[in-house]
Amino acid sequence: MDLTTYIKGLKLRNPTILAAGILGSSASSIKRVIRGGAGAIVTKSIGVVPRDGHKGPVMIKTEHGFLNAMGLANPSYHEFKRELKESKGEVPIVASIFGGNAEEFKEVALGLIEANPDAFELNVSCPHAEGYGADIGEDPNAVENITRAVKKAVNVPVWVKLSPLTNIVKIGLAAQRGGADAVVAINTIPAMAIDTESCFPVLGNTVGGLSGAAIKPVALKCVYDLYSMLKIDIIGVGGISSWKDAIEFIMAGASAIEIGSAVYEDIRIFRHISEGISRYLQNKGFELEDIRGVAVK
């Protein structure tokens, strides 16, 4: 079954993409995910200066998902250029970047451009790093300006990653106005856990983001809403761990899907999900295109 997927300006061998911040911090881990079947890679979010990230615990597995507050740990674009270069080859590599304002986003994008990323994903939605991510992503003007600034600076596709804790369609439209080629929904949902034995919040950063199976129905609704209102491609992410999940997102209008927490089960999840999608399409006698947005009545 042919799963070739086109997202404005990019051609993917299949619609499964590694989500930002998951095993995407070095060329070696990226290549391992490519061997695991991913159709494209989004790197860890990269910024202007190195960040060690938050104190631990930075991530725990809960009964229904995962909580994390990594804190945008990254070695800065200066250092990451090398990883990006070494990653290039088999599948499109999308550089996730963040900054405190349009200038910083532009600086990081331009800083990485010599490593030839195939696209950029703008992280305006990380819920647990003050002054970054969702703090910016709540403001439609900021999102529009940042998108426009990066779009002007580079000549590869630009995706904008959205937070669920806003009027997501409003922010998605802002990204579209700014020239985004696609939006990615969703980042983790702000969340926390408390240890009743010690009375301490469990995450080192106190609060963090919820990912994994728990958030799937929420992410799906975001994709559904965005697909109804936006013209550009929607990339779905949040709790996808099976081919059925992936198909739900495609039926809600996703052009492709990203997989994050589910690498916990198996790094080859990308291959498994692609195979599952193929089997499903074959059984039903559908092409991938036939089911895109089909649940949006």
Binding site: I22, L23, S25, S26, S29, K55, P57, M59, I60, Y264
Partner: protein, 256 residues
């Protein structure tokens, strides 16, 4: 999982810089597996299980210093056990141990002894008073000691001895200690074609412990210390970053 509450029942001052913290429950585990130790309000750090109910810790920085201030009755959080652990193979094994690397290998020695294996240990430390689990390794089999300053046993490095003895008589070799030390062991076993019979316990920045965040991956195959390791066979480590560089908390490469 929310970290389990581990209450300290007993503290053993092993060396001037190393203590064993026993806590109020036991974890079924394979020697070599680690737990994430949550020093509340400070940080969470990986520690090998030195006993089913204990970790043995060297005072290094923030989290370990806070731990060293704790007394009986205080508690910390524990997630785990995580990772693969050592695989005990054959009948006669050699342990090459440096410093606090004795934590997982002490547990392995106990297990090997109770399984009836022949255990020989080369135990190294800076000074005589920094030797960890000396008695424990002796009880498990033969023990050779090295100290950097010669204050006990052979003066020099554990790896000096490794170069001298006939390794082919062992079915398996296990090593944990400073990476320079383990790297030398790797070079020796590689030289005699035994790298697949040697197992190393690696230390890298471990953050999530779940195999998701990518912090602990080693080049060029992307093996994750936290999930695929922390124990690797020598043949998995040749031509990798091992012994050459590692990454700091930000993901930046730093020379070893």
């Amino acid at each position: 999982m929310i970290p389990m509450d581990a209450e300290i029942t007993h503290i053993v001052n092993e060396t001037p810089s190393i203590r064993t913290f026993f806590f109020d429950f036991s974890l079924e585990h394979i020697p070599g597996q680690y737990v994430m130790v949550w020093i509340r309000g400070v940080d969470e750090v990986p520690m090998s299980l030195s006993y089913p109910n204990a970790i043995t810790v060297q005072k290094i920085g923030e989290a370990t210093s806070k731990l060293f201030k704790m007394v009986k009755g205080d508690s910390f959080g524990i997630r785990g056990p995580f990772g693969n652990g050592f695989s005990l193979e054959g009948r006669s094994i050699l342990l090459v141990v440096g410093g606090v690397g004795a934590a997982p290998l002490g547990a392995l020695a106990d297990r090997a002894k109770s399984d009836g294996l022949r255990v020989e240990t080369i135990l190294g430390a800076k000074r005589a008073d920094e030797l960890l689990f000396e008695k424990r390794f002796k009880e498990a089999g033969d023990l050779l000691i090295t100290t950097d300053d010669g204050s006990l046993g052979h003066k020099g490095l554990a790896t000096d001895l490794v170069g001298e003895i006939d390794l082919t008589k062992y079915d398996a070799i296990y090593s944990c200690g400073p990476e320079e030390m383990m790297f030398r062991v790797l070079n020796v076993v590689e030289g005699i074609g035994m790298s697949s019979r040697a197992q190393f316990s690696l230390q890298r920045y471990v953050k999530c412990g779940l195999g998701i965040c990518g912090a602990c991956c080693i080049d060029p195959y992307g093996l994750r210390i936290c999930r695929d390791g922390p124990i690797f066979r020598g043949d998995q480590l040749t031509e990798t970053e091992f012994g050459r560089y590692m990454r700091d908390a930000s993901g930046k490469r730093v020379k070893i």
